[in-house]
Symmetry: C2
Subunit: 308 residues, 2 copies
């Protein structure tokens, strides 16, 4: 199959880079201002697991800033931050192709947005459990994990899912087909909704938040509210998952969340895709989630403040 990758950061750069290295036709869509870097130097991945490799433009590998080149793709990996989902999907909807779109993103609204513009049958869900980041344009550092779970929204093990998983496996990606990708997405949201925004409020590492009774209790309440909303959508998250997330470990002592890192670096933060999405989901069911609302409002305020 022919692959497209939109968003060549830590996530898209790694998975797309692996596919290209594995010999698959891959089209990378990036921002215009980075394009010359890719054209000149290609895409380099420095992986703790797969070593350092560079993928250069060739007959099989294309770097472009034009969405139109995606028209011959079978599958597009959507790897942009959730605050860019809608604008990117609007662009994708103008492309005259029938590729499936795999959302490799944080949040729980991306699949809905993709479906709204492209049709639900073209949407595939995914969660990436990976530690990777953009060191500089064109250079990705992959420093931890890497598991990609993919699945049809309706849970069916379709031919296309099997085909994608087989290709990825051939390319060396640690991939798993999820029979319940909604559950997997909510389970990931459970962590994201607590640790990411509250770390922006506290300004400290995950380990420091877990060390104190007061902050651990707030993290727990943020997750309990998420669990309640999930239940209203038929997703049964487990108390044991919450308890697991609340266990501190030496790995986490110095670990800063991606949202805090983005905040500190003056980058946009994914608060809307994560907490904003949960609050909207809750509202649709007539539910209030005050811990999340309180943390959300505070993070939004900090986000506005730094723009002044």
């Amino acid at each position: 199959m022919r692959y497209g990758v939109v968003g060549v950061g830590g996530v898209g750069g790694f998975y797309g880079g692996m596919l290209a290295k594995g010999g698959f036709e891959t089209v990378f869509v990036t921002k215009q201002r980075y394009l010359s870097v890719f054209k000149d130097k290609g895409l380099t991945v420095e992986s703790y697991k797969h070593g350092k490799f560079t993928v250069k433009e060739s007959g099989k590998v294309v770097f472009t800033d034009s969405y139109d080149v995606l028209k011959d793709c079978d599958v597009v990996l959507l790897c942009v931050k959730s605050y860019d989902t809608e604008s990117v999907v609007q662009e994708l909807s103008k492309v005259n192709g029938d590729f499936a779109v795999v959302s490799v993103q944080n949040g729980i609204e991306n699949e809905e947005i993709i479906g709204r513009y492209l049709g639900d049958d073209r949407v595939i869900g995914a969660t990436a459990f990976i530690g990777s980041y953009l060191k500089e344009p064109g250079v990705i550092v992959h420093e931890a994990a890497g598991l990609l779970e993919i699945g049809e929204i309706d849970g069916k093990i379709s031919d296309r899912i099997k085909h994608i998983a087989a290709d990825m496996e051939k390319a060396g990606i640690d991939v798993r087909i999820s029979k319940d990708i909604n559950y997997t997405l909510w389970k990931k949201l459970l962590w994201n909704v607590a640790f990411n925004p509250y770390s922006v409020v506290t300004g400290v590492t995950v380990g420091q938040m877990l060390e104190f009774e007061y902050t651990r209790s707030i993290l727990k309440n943020l997750m309990l509210e998420c669990k309640k909303v999930a239940a209203a959508y038929g997703i049964s998250l487990k108390d044991s998952t919450i308890e697991g997330y609340l266990k501190s470990s030496s790995d986490l002592r110095e670990y800063k969340t991606s949202m805090l890192l983005d905040f500190e670096r003056g980058k946009p933060i994914e608060i809307e895709g994560i907490t904003g999405a949960l609050i909207r989901k809750a509202k649709r069911k007539g539910m209030k989630i005050p811990y999340n609302e309180c943390v959300y409002g505070t993070v939004k305020f900090f986000d506005l403040q730094r723009k002044i």
Copy 2:
């Protein structure tokens, strides 16, 4: 009547200073380390309204670090921060006297604590609407307002209340007898519970918090929860009070809460007497107040962090 004042900071220094200046016998109990300053230089008040005056030790005015001197007082004004209430009241309970105690403090647990050690009939409630602070030991700056409302807990207009109010008026204090001091205390708590702790979370002025939808909404929810708890104790706070508190004004633009100022100066903060007290009151009625719990936990965390 003979007056005692415990805690000679912005509040105790002003009201006690006015009584002493007015010719009433006044005993000031202060910390041992400040005593020599008072003995040498007396107590100076720099008031926007009453000018600058100094009260020196004399037959009528006593500065001491010993609670025992209070034994001949009729009335003791308790003007310490709420986190010191319990330890001070324990000392007062050892004094062989039957003075009434007027709590001129923030919070809603002080009266209970005083009653527990000294008997409920010795407690008088009060709220001070005043802008004053300790410039240096022995020097108080009074820069705004000054109204003191006092009242018996049961609302009766007792002889002692009339007597105290008359004395204070003679001394030039702006005093009013409250027929419902509980209501007045809760009304003050309504402001305190929102603006004080949340200003420690945001680190900004009252005006800045009121300027943005997100933070204003959180302040409103903090107050709505307080209103609910008050109702469970038979106190009907008004929506119009909340709306009034949420109106921004030019006075507030640069106004920092006392809790934020204390926090920034590395001093202890009154989070327990304010939000901690409200959470305990709620718990006793089986109520949850998540906005307040979330803000409380965050402030407690910041308070712990700065001690590390």
